[in-house]
């Protein structure tokens, strides 16, 4: 059994430990799932599609009658779910013309099921973010730590910034981090 299958199995445990298992499963499959949506990027917002696909997979995990068989079955199933959600959004927005025909009709792309975590890159990112200062640091840290649960408008208000100023500070921070990573060869 692969780590992905084990994590999805633990997501089926009732109660809080099931949610923890599901979080672990999401962390293992997020990269390949997101990468699979690259081909639809002109037509859909991948972040919205991915969150909806994860929420549907949570329902699958809670359905004890549903059996997923084969190596990395939950990832392969999630790739299909993400594609279905993307196609639903493309049709709702009438964006079919922005996607290649083979991607509208085709199968799931081949993906690396478990890209290796690059510990050196993680250290470099932490170091480069640690070197930020002032308003750019405040804005980026607010977005990175709280941006999953609060809108930019709310985050900006918390920091006493106009939304545009908040966004400008994040752009500056990202450029500094990118330059720092480049200097580290990361």
């Amino acid at each position: 059994m692969t780590p992905i299958d084990r994590a999805f199995g633990s997501a089926r445990t009732p109660g809080p430990s099931g949610a923890e298992g599901f979080a672990l499963w999401m962390s293992l499959v997020e990269r390949p799932l997101r990468a699979s949506l690259r081909r639809f990027a002109r037509a859909v917002d991948a972040e919205s599609v991915l969150q909806e696909a994860f929420l549907r997979m949570w329902l699958v995990a809670q359905d004890a009658s549903r059996v997923l068989e084969g190596e990395d079955a939950s990832l392969r199933f999630a790739l299909r779910v993400a594609r279905i959600v993307a196609l639903e959004e493309i049709r709702r927005a009438h964006h079919e013309h922005l996607v290649a025909l083979e991607d509208l009709q085709g199968n799931e792309p081949s993906v690396d099921p478990a890209p290796v975590e690059d510990a050196g890159l993680l250290r470099a990112i932490r170091d480069c973010i640690g070197r930020l200062a002032g308003k750019p640091r405040e804005a980026l840290m607010a977005r990175l730590r709280l941006g999953h649960g609060s809108s930019d408008r709310d985050l900006a208000a918390t920091l006493g910034m106009a939304v545009n100023t908040f966004l400008q500070n994040i752009v500056r921070a990202r450029k500094s981090v990118a330059l720092c990573l480049e200097r580290k060869g990361a």
Binding site: A19, F22, A23, M26, S27, E30, R34, L37, R38, A41, R42, A43, V44, D45, A46, E47, S48, L50, Q51, E52, F54, L55, W58, L98, E117, L121, L122, I125, R126, I129, L140, R143, L144, R145, G147, H148, G149, S150, S151, D152, N164, L167, Q168, I170, V171, R174, V177
Partner: protein
Amino acid sequence: MNDDLELMLEATAGAWRERGADLRPVPPPAWWDLPPDAREAAFDLQTRARELERALDPRGFSGTIRAVLARL
């Protein structure tokens, strides 16, 4: 890249999404204003943003994962 486009891209990079009447996540208003080529740049920026979030989170969870967990 001009400043306006940079700000529009940044406005799509966070993991927070409003919910529609059907409770599905809704793309940010700025995403709809982007030309198709820039939407690919938005995808790449979102991907990089999630990596920064992973790097700082004690459990290695991105903003996407934390946003979904809050909805379970």
